[in-house]
């Protein structure tokens, strides 16, 4: 039995995982990072658009600060987020971006003087101030009051990931590539590491650690068409679920991005619309202002995606052999801008569509994009029910996104969570000894070995590829942008059957070493369970909130549904997950539920909302001299690691 020991085991080499490994290493603890592929190929590299942080250096970001970022994030989440976490996040984001700056990200900078930009379809000239010259600049993104999204030309995620991985290499952090975690080792509510399969040799290895972190990214591949990488299959989430002890949070909260290309689903960044691109229908008509007169193309993603779908349903889509779509028009931005700031988009159009977006419209359609749900954690990143198990990044439900995350808030989350959770992981390593019980390790290793040899020896049975296809189609057709009881209950039933069938997978190619069919056979039953969590959670949630839109329950219902879904899979032989709910406490909210200012407002209010609003008024009245920092501490006192508590400096504002 091969066993590897370390202080912190980080499953996932994307932005979140690497940042945590760095934090633990810098505090003196060994970390090992596991990744399916070289870390620099993680899906974080695909983020083109940008990272939100309220630096406010560009003229269009002037007046921005943590409070405005907080407001946008909570509204974006449709009040589904954990406001303590959103606070920790917005206060730390400026530090995160400045640290990455010191570590080598070539952020695009403010250039003093006049510059022509496109706002609301019009060319306008804006003038950047002399004193801001050379500071990190920002662009407009959906759902934000200020231009807050910082970027590196068209390759934000790429440059962030490269800087982060290079930092990890500098610190000598080992990344064990082509290794897949397939089970969590745990006992009595404590996590001790993971069973890991070497994807080249097929060998099973036990990685034993004080702290184990799941940073495996999203689960977009539960859907047939998604912007996500082919490895975004949610296996990290599934192995947490399969402990029976650690819950997943809000799995039904799945985001659809308005503009992926048709048919393959490759993303064109929100930067296209942020920089002034428009959505047009089959008549070349700009329809978004009719639906959202305020934010138009730049309302939050859930809203824009639904409006597009509504418009297509009215017969205004452009027919194609792959179904109806709409147009994204960036021709008005001009060649120079596209070739510099949207070059990746241009390449994608040329290679995958054979068109030139400088001259032609891009065929787009809302497509699965982001997983708000994931391993439920406390604000420290630790599972509420399993000690020593942490999670961060898209894999986690740390819960700063609630039911809809804003563009640019995700890569920001990965780094900020990496910094904060990384400190708590290091604390945990300091306080807990490495527990080594070979019997326990053996038990888990044997169980996984047994499963694999059963798979390899079964003569006849189901094809993993076929099961996966069926699952992905069910999710597309019945658990998509608009949802209803009939579709969802059918999906739940059909997935149950698939789950049964997935117990009988057989392989055509029966070897235990590098074998893509075996990889698939191990993953697919796990993916089906996740799909069941999504579909079942969506069926039970009888309201519409953020990205979860029920045609039969169109209102956001704070009275009955201001709560987070927790899914457990306690009984291995069960056919369905168990669902519990965690209430969100209105009386503790810094920002009580209200209107988002875009989309339809038909909220059924929570009885506490008015009380809390009145209470906040009183606190404000009673402390007339409190500045915004003192006020925030009064309204929403949060715990944050010591080193991240400082105020953030801004040009023209100092530390105010």
């Amino acid at each position: 039995m091969k066993i590897v020991y370390t202080d912190s085991l980080i499953i996932g080499g994307g932005l979140a995982g690497l940042r945590i490994a760095i934090a633990a290493r810098q505090r003196g603890y060994d970390s090992i990072v596991l990744s399916l592929m070289p870390a620099k190929r993680s899906h974080s590299a695909a983020a083109q658009g940008g990272m939100q942080a309220s630096l406010g250096a560009s003229i269009k970001g002037e007046g921005d600060n943590e409070d405005v970022h907080f407001e946008d994030t909570v509204k974006g989440s449709d009040w589904g987020c954990d406001q303590d976490v959103a606070r920790m996040f917005v206060n730390t984001a400026p530090k995160a971006i400045r640290q990455l700056c010191a570590w080598g990200v070539p952020w695009s900078r403010v250039r003093k003087g006049d510059r022509e930009v496109v706002i609301n379809g019009q060319k306008v000239t804006i003038t950047e101030k002399d004193e801001a010259h050379g500071l990190i600049t920002s662009r407009d993104f959906g759902g934000t009051k200020k231009w807050r999204t910082c970027f590196t030309s068209d390759g934000t995620g790429h440059t962030m990931l490269y800087a982060m991985d290079n930092k990890a290499i500098q610190l000598g952090i080992p990344v064990h590539e082509r290794k897949e975690a397939i089970a969590i080792i745990h006992e009595d509510g404590v996590c001790h590491g993971a069973v890991v399969r070497d994807l080249i040799t097929g060998e099973l290895i036990a990685y034993i650690a004080k702290a184990t972190v799941i940073a495996t990214g999203g689960y977009g591949r539960l859907y047939a068409v998604t912007t996500n990488a082919v490895i975004s299959e949610g296996i990290g989430n599934a192995i947490a679920l399969e402990t029976g002890v650690a819950p997943l949070g809000n799995m039904e909260a799945v985001q659809f991005h308005p503009t992926a290309i048709v048919p393959v689903g490759i993303l064109t960044t929100e930067g296209c619309r942020g920089d002034g691109g428009l959505l047009l229908d089959k008549d070349g008509y700009r329809f978004m202002p009719d639906y959202e007169p305020g934010k138009k193309e730049l309302a939050s993603r859930d809203v824009v995606s639904r409006r597009m779908t509504e418009h297509i349903r009215k017969g205004k889509g452009v027919p194609s052999r792959y179904g109806d779509h709409l147009w994204l028009d960036i021709t008005l931005l001009g060649r120079a801008h596209i070739e510099k700031n949207l070059r990746e988009v241009k390449e994608i159009c040329e290679y995958f569509l054979g068109i030139d977006p400088v001259k032609e419209y891009i065929p787009v359609r809302p497509t699965q994009h982001y997983s708000m749900g994931g391993v439920r954690t406390k604000p420290t990143g630790e599972s509420p029910t399993m000690r020593g198990l942490f999670s961060a990044g898209e894999a986690a439900c740390w819960d700063m996104h609630g039911f809809n995350r804003l563009g640019g808030n995700s890569v920001a989350e990965t780094v900020v969570a990496g910094m904060i959770v990384g400190e708590y992981v290091a604390d945990y390593c300091a306080e807990n000894p490495l527990k080594i019980d070979t019997k326990l390790i053996e038990k888990f290793m044997d169980r996984e070995k047994e499963k694999i040899s059963t798979l390899l020896s079964r003569e006849k049975g189901e094809s993993a590829f076929a099961l996966k296809k069926e699952m992905q189609q069910i999710m597309m057709d019945k658990v998509g942008i608009f949802r209803n009881e009939a579709d969802l209950s059918q999906a739940v039933e059909e997935l149950k059957l698939l789950h049964q069938r997935s117990k009988n997978i057989a392989l055509r190619h029966k070897i235990a070493s590098s074998n893509p069919e075996l990889v698939e056979a191990i993953r697919v039953p796990k993916m089906i369970r996740l799909a069941q969590c999504v579909a079942y959670g969506a069926m039970l949630r009888k309201e519409s909130r953020g990205a979860h839109a029920r045609e039969d329950y169109p209102e956001r219902n704070d009275r009955d549904w201001l709560k987070r879904t927790l899914t457990f899979w306690k009984d291995e032989n069960a056919d369905l997950p168990e669902v519990q709910y965690e209430e969100l406490d209105v009386m503790k909210m810094e920002m009580p539920p209200g209107s988002r200012g875009y989309g339809v407002d038909n909220t059924i209010h929570h009885p506490d909302t008015e009380k809390r609003v009145a209470q906040l008024e009183e606190i404000k009245k009673a402390n007339p001299s409190a500045d915004r920092f003192e006020m925030q501490r009064l309204l929403n006192p949060i715990e944050i690691p010591e080193k991240f508590r400082g105020k953030n400096e801004r040009i023209g504002k100092g530390f105010k």
Binding site: A46, P94, A102, W103, S108, R111, F352
Partner: protein, 243 residues
């Protein structure tokens, strides 16, 4: 019609993990679909013909650099290569040479790239980088410099340049163009405090820029169009001044 075409894929099959396996070319037929890429076709082959076929795709959008292979004689990213590019419908696929073979079309670029990063010390050398006060304004940078650094940082470590390099074939320890690009990126970055002497230590020999024959296979096949020619020439001039 072209969407009715039957494509012929000739693929080198070899699994070094299986004792006694020998490299052989195998042919698979795939019905072409509109907009089909080699990514789509290979998955079709895996799902419908041979589930053991190994290859690496991640982003399938030309972004992550996983899927470089030799396509009809030239290195390129398979995910963004449309099958319609090949008029006779014959597509020959070989694994990228110059890297350890994992199996079939899958090679271990990760190991090579990590070693390259360690060799050129692919990080900002600044003893103050970890004591920067994160609450304060970041250090300023000229917008043009930021853009120039990004131009070099666009490399996706796909390995096409490595596989196309004649010098690398003759001299295994040759740093290759991906390493030169990385080094040039840091040499350009005002945040990196290394001196030319320190850079010279890394590339100032025949395993480095002075071994390069400037035949520019690297530039011809770089899918991200990095400016190899100008940067290699620039590095050589700069390094020549050191000694």
């Amino acid at each position: 019609m072209s969407d009715e075409r039957i494509l012929k894929f000739h693929i080198l099959r070899y699994n070094p993990q299986v004792k006694g396996d020998v490299p052989t070319m195998k042919t698979y037929e795939v019905k072409e679909a509109p907009g089909m890429t080699i990514f789509i076709a290979l998955n079709d082959i895996r799902e419908n013909h041979d589930p053991s076929l190994q290859f690496d795709f991640i982003c399938r959008a030309g972004i992550c650099g996983s899927c470089a292979m030799i396509i009809n004689g030239h290195p390129d990213l398979a995910c963004r290569t449309l099958t319609s590019k090949f008029p006779d419908g014959e597509i020959k696929l070989l694994p990228l040479p110059g890297f350890e073979l994992i199996g079939d079309l899958s090679v271990n670029t990760g190991k090579f790239m990590r070693a390259m990063s360690e060799r050129v010390e692919s990080w900002i050398h600044d003893k103050y980088a970890d004591s920067v006060d994160l609450d304060r304004l970041e250090e300023r940078m000229e917008p043009d410099i930021a853009e120039q650094i990004y131009e070099l940082e666009r490399c996706v470590e796909c390995g096409c340049c490595v596989s196309a390099c004649a010098t690398k074939r003759m001299r295994d320890g040759f740093l290759t163009a991906v390493g030169f690009m990385r080094l040039a990126r840091y040499a350009l970055d005002p945040r990196d405090k290394r001196s030319d002497e320190e850079f010279y230590e890394i590339v100032g020999d025949d395993e480095g820029v002075f071994g390069c024959m400037t035949l520019l296979g690297c530039q011809d096949y770089c899918p991200k169009d990095l400016p190899h020619q100008t940067q290699i020439a620039y590095l050589r001039r700069r390094m020549a001044l050191v000694k």
